[in-house]
C-alpha cells in the first residue's frame, strides 16, 4: 500500500488542480502534497531498513504475469532524496515562478514529473518502466516549453526529438527482448537469462537498444547533446528540477538493468560501461570549463557527474556500487541547489552571462554561502557530501585495480573545482565590469532561501553523517550484487 502513495499523492493534486480554486489554495495544496510525499518516503525508508524489500501487485496478478511495483533499499534511498528535492523545488517555485505560469497549471506538470520519477524508481517491469518514462517525459516537455518564449521553444524542440528517439530505441529493445524471452518482468527475465547459458549472446541486439535508450536519457557520452542545448532555456527552477531528477532516472535504470540483466554477460558489457563513464566524466568537465553562462556550465557538469556514477557501476564491487549510490544521492542535492542559486541570480540580476555579473557577494552573503556549500560539495572538498562520494568511488576503483580510471576521476575532480571557482569569482566576487549596467530586482525571497537552505543543509549533513549513510548504501549495494534475493522476493519462489 505504501508504494501506491508515491503515485497517489501527486496524481491527486493533478486532478484537484483542474478545479477552479484560487491560486492561494493551489499553492498550499502543492505544499501539502509534497509534504505527504516526503512523509511517505520517510515511512518507506524506515520500513525498508527493517524488511529489506516491499512489493505490491496492482490488481492482485501474481508476479511474472501482472505489473509489480518493487522497492528495495536503493529505490527507497532515491525516493527519499527525490521527495526532499521536490519539497525544496515547490518552495522555490512559490516565489520565483511568475503568476501566469502558476495559473496555467505549472504545479500540475511539476507533479507529473514527480509521478514519473517515483514510478520509475519502483517499477519492477520493463514496459512499466517505459510507461513511467513517458509520463515523466510528457510532463517535462510541457514544463520545458511552458510560457512559450523563443529560446524555450527552441530548446524544447531539441529536447523533444532526441528524447523521443531514445524512447523508440527503448521500446524496440523491449519488443525484441519480449520476442525472445516471453517475459518483461525484470526478476523473471534475470532468472530466465541465467538459465540460457551461452545462448544469451542472441539477446545482445535487444539489450544494446535498451542500454542506448537509457544512455540517452542519462546523458552519457556520446548521447548527451540534447542536455546542454536545452537545460538552460526554461525557467531556472525548472532546470533545477530537471538537473536534479531526470538524468538520474536514466542512470538508476541503467544500474538496475545492469545488476539484474547485463551482468550475466559482463565480459561484454563491463568495458563499455567503464569506457563510457570515463569519457563522459572527462568530456563533461572540459566542455564545462569553456562556457560563459552560469546554467550552461552547470549543464555540462551534469554529464561529468553522471560519469562518476557510471564508473562506480562499472567497478561492480560492493564498495564501488555503494559509492555510486551515495554519489547519485549527493549529486541530486548539490546539483539542484547550484541551479537554484542560478535561479536566484537570474531573478535578481536578469542575466546569467558570467561576463556581465559580479559583486553578488556584497549584495547577499547568504546566497553566496549557499552556493559555495553546494559548489564545493560538487567539487569534492571535505567535509561536504561530495568528498565522501568521490573518496569511496576512487578508493573502490583502486581496490578493483582500475588505477587509470581512478586517476582520471581525481583529475576530473580538480577541473570541477576549477569550474566552480570560476563561477564563484565571476559571479560573486569580481567587481562588475565598467560599462555594464548593474541593477537589482528586489522582492520577497524568504521561501527561496529556505528551499536552497534545505538542500545545502542536506549536503552538509550527508558529509557529517557519511558513515551511517555509506553503511546503508553498502547494504543496498549488497542487495544489488545478489540478484537472487530480488528474484526470489518478486517471484515468490
Amino acid at each position: 500500500m505504501i508504494l501506491f502513495g508515491f503515485i497517489f499523492f501527486p496524481l491527486l493534486y493533478i486532478i484537484v488542480g483542474f478545479f477552479p480554486f484560487p491560486l492561494k489554495w493551489k499553492k498550499v495544496l502543492a505544499l501539502l502534497t509534497v509534504g505527504g510525499n516526503l512523509v511517505n518516503a520517510v515511512n518507506l525508508i524506515y520500513k525498508i531498513s527493517h524488511v529489506g524489500m516491499i512489493k505490491v501487485s496492482p490488481g492482485s496478478w501474481p508476479a511474472p504475469f501482472g505489473i509489480t511495483l518493487v522497492a528495495d533499499r536503493m529505490s527507497a534511498f532515491l525516493l527519499l532524496i527525490t521527495a526532499i528535492v521536490a519539497v525544496s523545488i515547490v518552495l522555490f517555485s512559490l516565489q520565483s515562478v511568475d503568476r501566469p505560469r502558476l495559473e496555467r497549471g505549472y504545479f500540475q506538470f511539476l507533479f507529473g514529473i514527480i509521478i514519473g520519477v517515483n514510478g520509475s524508481f519502483i517499477a519492477g517491469d520493463l514496459f512499466n518502466l517505459y510507461v513511467w518514462f513517458e509520463v515523466m517525459l510528457m510532463a517535462s516537455f510541457i514544463l520545458m516549453s511552458h510560457g512559450g518564449e523563443q529560446p524555450q521553444l527552441e530548446g524544447a524542440i531539441k529536447y523533444l526529438i532526441l528524447n523521443l528517439i531514445s524512447s523508440f530505441f527503448f521500446v524496440a529493445g523491449i519488443g525484441l527482448l519480449y520476442g525472445k524471452m516471453g517475459t518483461l518482468n525484470l526478476a523473471d527475465l534475470s532468472n530466465k537469462i541465467s538459465q540460457l547459458g551461452d545462448a544469451k549472446v542472441i539477446l545482445n541486439p535487444s539489450l544494446v537498444l535498451i542500454v542506448v535508450g537509457f544512455a540517452i536519457k542519462g546523458a552519457l557520452f556520446p548521447f548527451f547533446f540534447w542536455l546542454p542545448a536545452s537545460y538552460h532555456t526554461p525557467v531556472p527552477v525548472v532546470s533545477a528540477l530537471f538537473a536534479g531528477l531526470l538524468t538520474k532516472v536514466g542512470i538508476y535504470s541503467l544500474i538496475r538493468f545492469y545488476t539484474l540483466i547485463l551482468y550475466h554477460n559482463s565480459a561484454f558489457w563491463n568495458p563499455w560501461i567503464l569506457g563510457v563513464g570515463t569519457v563522459s566524466m572527462v568530456i563533461g568537465v572540459f566542455t564545462a570549463s569553456s562556457q560563459f553562462d552560469f546554467r550552461k556550465k552547470l549543464s555540462f557538469h551534469i554529464i561529468s557527474q553522471v560519469g562518476y556514477v557510471v564508473i562506480g557501476l562499472g567497478f561492480f564491487t560492493l564498495s564501488g556500487l555503494a559509492g555510486a549510490l551515495f554519489f547519485l544521492g549527493h549529486n541530486m542535492f548539490a546539483k539542484t541547489n547550484t541551479y537554484l542559486v542560478a535561479g536566484w541570480v537570474h531573478k535578481r540580476k536578469g542575466t546569467l552571462d558570467l561576463k556581465n555579473l559580479g559583486d553578488v557577494f556584497k549584495e547577499s552573503p547568504v546566497w553566496s554561502v549557499l552556493f559555495i556549500i553546494s559548489a564545493f560539495s560538487l567539487a569534492g572538498l571535505p567535509p561536504l557530501s561530495g568528498f565522501i562520494g568521490k573518496y569511496s568511488l576512487i578508493k573502490s576503483g583502486i581496490e578493483a585495480h582500475h588505477l587509470f580510471i581512478s586517476l582520471v576521476a581525481l583529475f576530473v575532480g580538480i577541473f570541477t573545482l576549477f569550474s566552480m571557482l570560476k563561477i564563484w569569482i565571476e559571479v560573486f566576487w569580481k567587481p562588475v565590469k565598467e560599462g555594464v549596467k548593474s541593477f537589482t530586482i528586489a522582492g520577497d525571497e524568504r521561501l527561496m532561501v529556505t528551499a536552497s537552505g534545505i538542500l545545502a543543509l542536506m549536503s552538509v549533513l550527508m558529509g557529517i553523517f557519511g558513515v551511517p549513510i555509506i553503511d546503508y548504501c553498502t547494504e543496498a549495494a549488497a542487495d544489488l550484487l545478489s540478484p537472487e534475493k530480488y528474484i526470489r522476493f518478486v517471484l515468490n519462489v
Binding site: V131, G155, I157, K158, G175, L176, T287
Partner: protein, 116 residues
C-alpha cells in the same frame, strides 16, 4: 509473412531516418511519427504472427498451444500507440507555436541555444 513485414519495417525505419535528416521541422516531426509506428510494428512482429483463434482459454477446452497468438505484445502496442498519440498532438502544437513566434520552418535556425 514475417519476412514481408520485416522488410516493410526496415523500409519504414529508412523513411523515418531520412525524414529526420531533412531541414524542415515539419518533415522532422513526420519522421518521428513514422519511426514511432515502425517501432510499434517491431513489437508486433517480435510477438510472433500466427493466424489463429482468440487466446481466451476456457478451463475445459483443450487447445493446441502453438496455434494461439500471444496477446501481450498487442496490449503493449496499444499502450505505445496511445502514448504516441499524445506525443504527436503535443509535438504539432509545439511546432505551431514555434512557427507563430519565429515564422520559420528551418532547422538551421535552431542554433541559438546550442553550445558554441
Amino acid at each position: 509473412m514475417e519476412l514481408v513485414l520485416a522488410i516493410f519495417i526496415g523500409l519504414l525505419y529508412a523513411c523515418g531516418v531520412y525524414l529526420l535528416l531533412r531541414r524542415s521541422i515539419v518533415k522532422l516531426i513526420l519522421g518521428v511519427f513514422v519511426l514511432s509506428n515502425a517501432t510499434n510494428l517491431v513489437i508486433f512482429l517480435a510477438g510472433g504472427i500466427t493466424r489463429s483463434g482468440i487466446s481466451i482459454l476456457q478451463d475445459e477446452v483443450v487447445v493446441d498451444k502453438s496455434n494461439i497468438t500471444d496477446p501481450l505484445p498487442q496490449a503493449l502496442i496499444l499502450t505505445a500507440i496511445v502514448i504516441g498519440l499524445g506525443i504527436a498532438a503535443y509535438t504539432l502544437a509545439l511546432k505551431y507555436k514555434y512557427y507563430k513566434v519565429t515564422g520559420t520552418d528551418d532547422l538551421d535556425r535552431l542554433k541559438n541555444t546550442d553550445q558554441r
